[in-house]
């Protein structure tokens, strides 16, 4: 994996997310998420924290699994607003999708 890039959490602020680094990776969001999908949304949030842009764009489709039920945001012990973070990542992916050639073939 490329270098950790802390400019990414800063960049996400333009997409309406200011709590990226508040998360302390407890996994409560993944446990409560009704999707029962492996590590969602925790893994995405971690990729955002370390600035793994490629991983986020590669796996962008996953972001659209979210039902926006709000359970993760309700239970997050750090009030890091994981639901909103996922929505912010959607906005980021949309913004970069076509330009960066991440259209699934």
């Amino acid at each position: 994996m490329a270098f950790v890039d802390l400019s990414f959490p800063d960049e996400l602020e333009r997409f309406g997310v200011s709590t990226t680094l508040d998360c302390f990776n407890c996994g409560t969001c993944a446990a409560i998420c009704p999707l029962i999908y492996e590590h969602f949304p925790r893994q995405m949030i971690r990729y955002a924290q370390i600035g793994a842009r490629d991983r986020i764009l590669e796996n962008g489709v996953e972001l659209w699994r979210c039902l926006h039920c709000g359970l993760c945001t309700q239970t997050c012990p750090r009030e890091a607003n994981p639901g909103e973070l996922i929505l912010g990542l959607r906005r980021y992916v949309l913004h970069h999708w076509r330009r960066d050639g991440h259209v699934p073939s």
Partner: protein, 640 residues
């Protein structure tokens, strides 16, 4: 008082033993037939009464015993219950409150030694044997008087770090003379090398100065800088220490501008060194200190990483947290980027648990074969605190923390962790078997170093962090005080810190009465915990010395001068240095050698009793005759 105490040897002094059997809720009575036991015990020769109770240690249980004593029904007591370490003192004090001598008491352990390990008929049998033996001994018990040892109203504190200063001030405030010893020229110890203290942010220099001022002003405290303890003997209330003082070594010489101005009583703080509290010795010398208690406040030293451990000693951009704290203190206070030695530091990688929580088979032992398996407790908060300082003072400097677990346990410390997240510190987590690797960068990172880690938070993927600086959060090790350990026979734990008697019930006492522990010589602690421990040690010391004498149990050896032939075998057998000595006495106009016991030093172990060829030495409260009676009681029972 005298009259009450003599109850056991008053006019009607035939031994009348009372046996008190405890059910311990059901702990005992579920397995031992206490009813049968009670009936049988009543028939043991010399037993006046046998009773039982659900909880003998309860108030009604104790009252049962006290009532029998007051009415004169019994004058020797046996309680059959739990381990004597739990309740022997409880029942001795009940005897005392009923006006009896507290030493006409014998304890039979029928819980740990019987009901918890045996069941049914054999359990009851064994309980009866133990009670018979105890009753046989009880019949021969004599009233004893506790030893009284005169105590000097003087305390010595070894080490003038924050804990030593705290203990010295507390003791002096309670009206004791205090000698405060320090091997360096400075007071303040390790705290003097810190800048601001986590989690509150107060200045370390102020914390030291506020105590140092009181030490300086207090007429009862004598400060001995540049002093080492080279001689130690005596016992609680009457220790004597020999100090070696030497003029400071050249590297400790202080620039004259830092010396206190003449006539000004204000102590001077020298950053990274500590506080000068007065003139330093100009020539070598020896000083004798006579004292009542000794408080050990010898402190800790930070772990020194091995050469090559996370690049330490090989890559100049790698330093320890204590070094970084000093560098940060001396750095230009503002600017968007932290500058160290003219170099911009845009990215700092801080690695936790260096030299702490080491695991056999994973970590390498040090040169003497030790692993620091303990958690040093303070480094998490200190690292978080330093990270927050960097982030708030230099917004363009990024901080990455590599941790195994965050243990921010005290008041205000979890908040440091939350604050670090708000300050956009990035945390990466590693497993002990896959520690981060600190490497020289190939240039692609734009920094001199790269730290690679299998990040557990990114589900084990390898993550690379560019770093201008790597800071190692090193743990604590006890200061090397082997000389004191040998000299004062101090107990040392497996972790090499000094070991208290009991971690919860006697947390600042050492096994030798009169030796106390203050601060990080005992375990890793932060400043408030060290001061807590120091104040605890001071109040323990004060309670030992306050009466002007110390009371000790009378279970010590006693020489029968009629029988002693002065062979000296007891002196050879003795385990406590100086507890038995040979002295010249005049018998029938002839000078002969005889053994004499120094009661305050005697451990009451009985090694001398076994060695004496003429049976002239006995341990009070455990005489040979008493033991023989116990054996007879058990043997006769076996025969029956």
């Amino acid at each position: 008082m005298e009259e009450k105490r003599n109850l056991a040897s008053d006019g009607s002094d035939a031994p009348r033993v009372g046996i008190y059997i405890c059910h311990c809720g059901g702990n005992i009575s579920d397995h031992v037939d206490v009813e049968v036991l009670c009936e049988k015990a009543e028939k043991i020769p010399g037993v006046a009464v046998a009773r039982r109770n659900m909880f003998m240690c309860s108030d009604p249980g104790q009252e049962l015993i006290m009532e029998d004593i007051r009415s004169g029904k019994v004058n020797r007591i046996v309680v059959a219950s739990c381990s004597p370490s739990l309740h022997e003192m409880t029942f001795r004090s009940a005897l005392e409150r009923a006006g009896a001598n507290p030493y006409v008491y014998e304890h039979a352990n029928i819980r740990e030694q019987v009901s918890w390990v045996h069941h049914g008929e054999p359990a009851t049998e064994k309980a009866f044997q133990l009670i018979s033996a105890a009753a046989a001994k009880a019949r021969l018990l004599e009233p004893l008087e506790p030893l009284r040892v005169e105590a000097r109203r003087h305390a010595t504190v070894i080490g003038a770090g924050i804990a030593g200063l705290r203990a010295a001030v507390d003791l002096a405030d309670r009206g004791f003379q205090v000698a405060l010893l320090e091997k360096t020229p400075f007071a303040g110890g390790r705290v003097a090398r810190l800048d601001r203290l986590a989690p509150t942010g107060e200045a370390a220099s102020e914390a030291i100065l506020s105590l140092a001022r009181r030490v300086m002003e207090h007429p009862a405290i004598t400060f001995y800088p540049c002093a080492q303890v080279v001689g130690f003997d005596g016992y609680v209330g009457n220790f004597s220490l020999e100090l070696q003082v030497e003029p400071p070594a050249a590297e400790d010489a202080v620039p004259p501008s830092n010396l206190p101005p003449a006539g000004d009583g204000e102590p001077v703080f020298v950053p990274s060194r500590g506080v000068l509290l007065g003139p330093l010795p100009t020539e070598k010398g020896r000083i004798q200190v006579e004292t009542g208690v000794v408080v050990l406040a010898t402190g800790f030293k930070p772990y020194t990483p091995r050469k090559g451990e996370y690049g330490y000693g090989e890559l100049p951009e790698v330093m320890t947290l204590p070094q970084f704290i000093e560098a940060l203190r001396d750095a230009q206070a503002d600017g968007s980027v932290l500058m160290l030695s003219g170099r911009p530091i845009r990215s700092i990688a801080m690695i936790h648990c260096v030299g702490s929580r080491q695991i056999p088979g994973i970590h390498e032992e040090d040169a003497s074969g030790y692993l620091n398996e303990y958690c040093s407790r303070t480094c998490c908060s200190a690292t978080l605190f330093a990270a927050n300082q960097v982030r708030t003072r230099y917004p363009e400097t990024r901080v990455f923390e590599f941790y195994r677990d965050i243990r921010a346990y005290g008041r205000g410390q979890e908040e440091l962790y939350q604050e670090a997240a708000r300050n956009k510190v990035l945390f990466l987590r590693f497993e002990p078997e896959d520690p981060p690797r600190v490497e020289r960068s190939d240039g692609s990172s734009g920094t001199p170093l790269v730290v690679r880690v299998k990040d557990a938070l990114t589900f084990g993927e390898e993550v690379q962090v560019p770093a201008d600086l790597v800071v190692l959060a090193v743990g604590m090790e006890p200061t090397g005080i082997q000389d004191l350990v040998d000299l004062m026979k101090l107990p040392v734990g497996a972790d090499r810190f000094l070991l208290e008697v009991h971690p919860k019930l006697r947390p600042v006492e050492l096994a030798t009465t009169g030796l106390l522990l203050a601060g990080t010589c005992q375990a890793p602690m932060d400043v408030s915990e060290a001061c807590n421990a120091a104040s605890a040690a001071a109040s323990k010391a004060a309670s030992l010395l306050a009466k002007g004498y110390v009371q000790l149990d009378p279970f010590v050896a006693e020489v029968d001068m009629e029988k002693c032939q002065g062979t000296g075998s007891c002196v050879e057998a003795c385990l406590a240095d100086g507890a038995i000595e040979l002295v010249d006495v005049v018998v029938n106009g002839e000078t002969v050698r005889r053994a004499r016991v120094v009661q305050a030093l005697c451990l009451g172990c009985g090694a001398c009793v076994a060695a004496c060829p003429s049976g002239a030495i006995q341990v009070k409260g455990s005489t040979l005759a008493q033991f023989e009676a116990m054996v007879d009681a058990i043997a006769s029972h076996e025969a029956a």
